[in-house]
């Protein structure tokens, strides 16, 4: 059995975003997650760190991976899990967000994991409930657990984050994964580039301290990490880019473009992968270079760390209710 981390170095009841977390807090979550990774899947039953605790997955948007990952994480910690999928039709009238929050709050869960298609919706919900809230992705804003799992994946392979050159490629403008990664990697001392067509990568990102590129080979030059983003289907056909084949030609990751990066550069993707759109199938499956499947495994450990952290923070919290990160 793994003992609880000794000093509590994570004071936040909610994890709503990476922005605002200190390097020490990020390191705490990563270190803790790493212990869960090393422990592997507990054969002799579950841990009891979340025993008697209820984690509610509240997903206003389709998700299999993230929801399952949180579910597994909570169960491995000995917690109870309830999954709530809110139908798309019922969220058109947005007032159900707060109504739903009130209803769920009355059920007294310990942690709500929330995904919502609107930026800021998870924070809004966190103001209306008494329990901890973890952002499972809100609109184009943040997806903090994805950035944490990406960081741990990188750290385990490269031994560090500081000083690495990371290219985030694709639909940066609409990506919550990109924003959370930019905040996290910059906070931890990595150098970040964003790469993609001008419609999907805005120069305004320079204000975040990242370099902006619109050419893949230039953007990938000497990179340690190539992080590909998923391109949503509705943005592929003449709205933001002319066509799938044109996008793949200029911005899809193949061995030719990858040659610009360092020889040992890692390839990452938050999934699910659009093969032949943003990434070539061979590259995605390259055992030596691609860490896409490891990202999934590490995701469970990271979510265990996050769940444990917010639950312990609420136990120990002297903060006012509803005050968390940001």
């Amino acid at each position: 059995m793994i003992p609880p981390a000794e000093p509590i170095r994570f004071p936040h009841r909610h994890i709503l975003g990476i922005e605002g977390l200190s390097p020490e807090e990020i390191t705490y979550l990563l270190d803790r997650a790493e212990r869960f990774v090393e422990m592997g899947r507990p054969i002799d039953g579950k841990l009891d760190l979340l025993r008697g605790r209820t984690v509610m997955n509240l997903f206003f948007e389709e998700s299999t991976r993230t929801r399952t990952s949180f579910e597994l994480a909570a169960k491995r910690l000995g917690g109870d899990v309830i999954n709530m999928a809110v139908q798309h039709s019922s969220i058109k009238k947005g007032e159900t967000l707060i109504d739903t929050a009130m209803t769920l709050n009355a059920m007294q869960p310990d942690v709500l994991v929330v995904r919502h298609p609107c930026s800021g919706a998870v924070e809004l919900l966190s103001q209306k409930v008494a329990c901890s809230v973890i952002n499972g992705g809100d609109g184009s804003h943040e997806h903090p657990t994805q950035a944490l799992l990406d960081a741990l994946t990188i750290r385990r392979r490269k031994g560090k984050l500081q000083g690495l050159l990371v290219a985030i490629c694709g639909d940066v403008v609409h990506s919550r994964v990109a924003r959370s990664n930019i905040h996290l990697l910059s906070t931890m001392g990595a150098r970040v580039r964003v790469v993609g067509p001008r419609t999907l990568v805005s120069p305004v990102f320079e204000r975040f301290g990242v370099e902006v590129f619109h050419d893949m080979r230039e953007g990938l030059r000497d990179c340690d990490i190539v992080m590909m983003l998923r391109l949503q289907l509705e943005r592929m056909h003449g709205t933001f880019v002319p066509s799938v084949r044109e996008y793949f030609h200029f911005f899809g990751l193949d061995y030719d473009k990858l040659a610009a990066a360092k020889p040992d550069a890692l390839i990452m993707h938050p999934g699910p992968v659009n093969r032949g759109v943003e990434i070539d199938t061979e590259v995605a499956d390259d055992i030596d270079r691609s860490v896409i499947t490891q990202q999934v495994e590490i995701g469970v450990a990271v979510r265990m760390a996050c769940l444990e952290a917010v639950v312990r923070a609420s136990e120990a919290s002297t903060e006012l209710p509803n005050r968390g990160v940001r």
Partner: protein, 434 residues
């Protein structure tokens, strides 16, 4: 019956006549009968009701040229009764109703309805815009002449831009022959579709789709060309960017019949008020950068901007307690128009007469209303103002049915003490505070 009221011991401030002096004013049968520094210096004769202004400012009652009354159609947000009561408490004597109601003010009967309901409420005067296009759909022009005959003071599609240039050209041409004023919401809707706040770093950080300041400038530039072609009278509503101010400045220099207004959010706040998705700070046009805010102040100071309107847009909890993208835009403003305009005086950006002109004589001139001045023969629409009274904007204390102010908690200075319409007091702090 000969009803006479003497307003004595007043600081008479009348931007239209450049008056700022201690004196008195006589109202007879709802009309200003006399005014001057020596009036009643020997005392008020018996039989005349006396109002001692206590040395405070006596100004023409404010004229608010952009107000969403929400009646008919959205009475849960505001009614003509509640809006006009809020206006009276804000020192406003005339509100001009925007046509974006349900049904919209796009036919003569609707103009008459709104004006009549205003009269029935008995608070302040209610004037109405007519819509530019039928159903505010931007396609076919309304009966501009008949609407005007029914009382519409000017024409606009409110918070919706007439985006089709051919439709706009024909409206401007048609309106010019009647001498009617066309008021445009400056936006290119195709360019700002889906946008929730000002485009830039903050919108990007929050993951919100941005509204480019260029959209506002583009529509003004296009319209100015059409105005030059047609010779129409044209007014740009709620300018929010430095570029818009500059476009209007240059158009005026060229001699075009162009005017514009802005609203307190655009000189009193910038985009950072959105903070972490504060939906009360969601307005349209959106709150802009600090550079733009300063340019709006400069445009007010140099006279390029002709008027300040409240842009009063009540939204209830159901419309605002939502994720930012889904929340409705708009802010209430009737009760904060005066103190926020006076903020420009207290911060020494504008003189008192220049500031009051923006909410009295100048909007009156734009809309050709026979009010907004302290002159013999003018309607006795008056406001007594304590310029210095400090208070804090409190959402809960607003008389407006909706409480969506982005200025909640803001310390301000200056308050209407009394609002008088045609000689009749419709708001009096002495009564209100009891």
């Amino acid at each position: 019956m000969n009803e006479r009221i003497a307003f004595i011991n007043a600081r008479l401030v009348d931007p239209a006549s450049n008056r700022d002096e201690h004196g008195a004013l006589l109202v007879e049968n709802g009309v200003i009968a006399d005014i001057g520094p020596h009036l009643f210096s020997a005392g008020v004769p018996a039989g005349i009701e006396t109002v001692d202004c206590g040395g405070h400012v006596l100004s023409p009652a404010l004229i608010d040229m952009r107000v969403h009354l929400r009646e008919p159609g959205e009475e849960e947000k505001e009614t003509i009764e509640t809006a006009t009561a809020a206006a009276a408490a804000g020192g406003i004597g005339t509100v001009v109703a925007l046509p974006n109601t349900d049904p919209p003010i796009d036919n003569p009967a609707m103009v008459e309805f709104v004006v009549r309901r205003g009269r029935e409420a008995g608070n302040v005067r209610v004037e109405a815009y007519g819509a530019l296009t039928q159903g505010i759909k931007g396609q076919r022009m309304t009966e501009l002449g008949l609407l005007n005959a029914a009382g519409a003071v000017a024409f606009t599609d409110g918070t919706s831009a007439v985006s089709n240039p051919l439709v706009m050209r024909r409206i401007l041409a048609y309106a010019s022959a009647f001498g009617l004023l066309v008021v445009q919401h400056p936006d290119v809707p195709e360019l700002t579709e889906g946008g929730a706040m000002n485009e830039g770093e903050l919108a990007t950080r929050l993951g919100l789709s941005g509204i480019s300041p260029a959209a506002e400038a583009m529509m003004i530039e296009r319209d100015l060309r059409l105005v030059a072609m047609t010779g129409a009278r044209y007014h740009v509503a709620h300018v929010s960017t430095g570029e818009s101010v500059e476009l209007v400045r240059r158009a005026k220099e060229r001699g075009l019949a162009v005017t514009c207004d802005t609203a307190p959010p655009y000189f009193g706040l910038n985009e950072t008020a959105v903070g972490d998705w504060r939906t009360f700070a969601k307005v349209f046009p959106p709150l802009r950068s600090e550079t733009d805010r300063q340019a709006i102040v400069a445009g007010l100071a140099d006279g390029t901007i002709d008027a300040i309107a409240s842009d009063h847009a009540p939204q209830d909890q159901e419309a605002k307690r939502l994720p930012f993208i889904q929340a409705e835009a708009g802010a209430v403003g009737l009760e904060t128009l005066l103190p926020l305009t006076l903020e420009l005086v207290h911060t020494k950006r504008l003189g008192l007469k220049a500031a009051l002109a923006l909410v009295t004589s100048r909007p009156a001139a734009i809309l050709d209303l026979p009010r907004g001045r302290l002159a013999k023969g003018a309607p006795a629409d008056l406001t007594v103002i304590d310029l210095d009274r400090p208070w804090k904007v409190d959402e809960a204390a607003l008389l407006s049915k909706s409480k969506n102010t982005p200025f909640g908690g803001r310390p301000v200075q200056g308050h209407a003490l009394r609002t008088v319409i045609a000689g009749r007091t419709v708001f009096n702090t002495a009564v209100a505070s009891r």
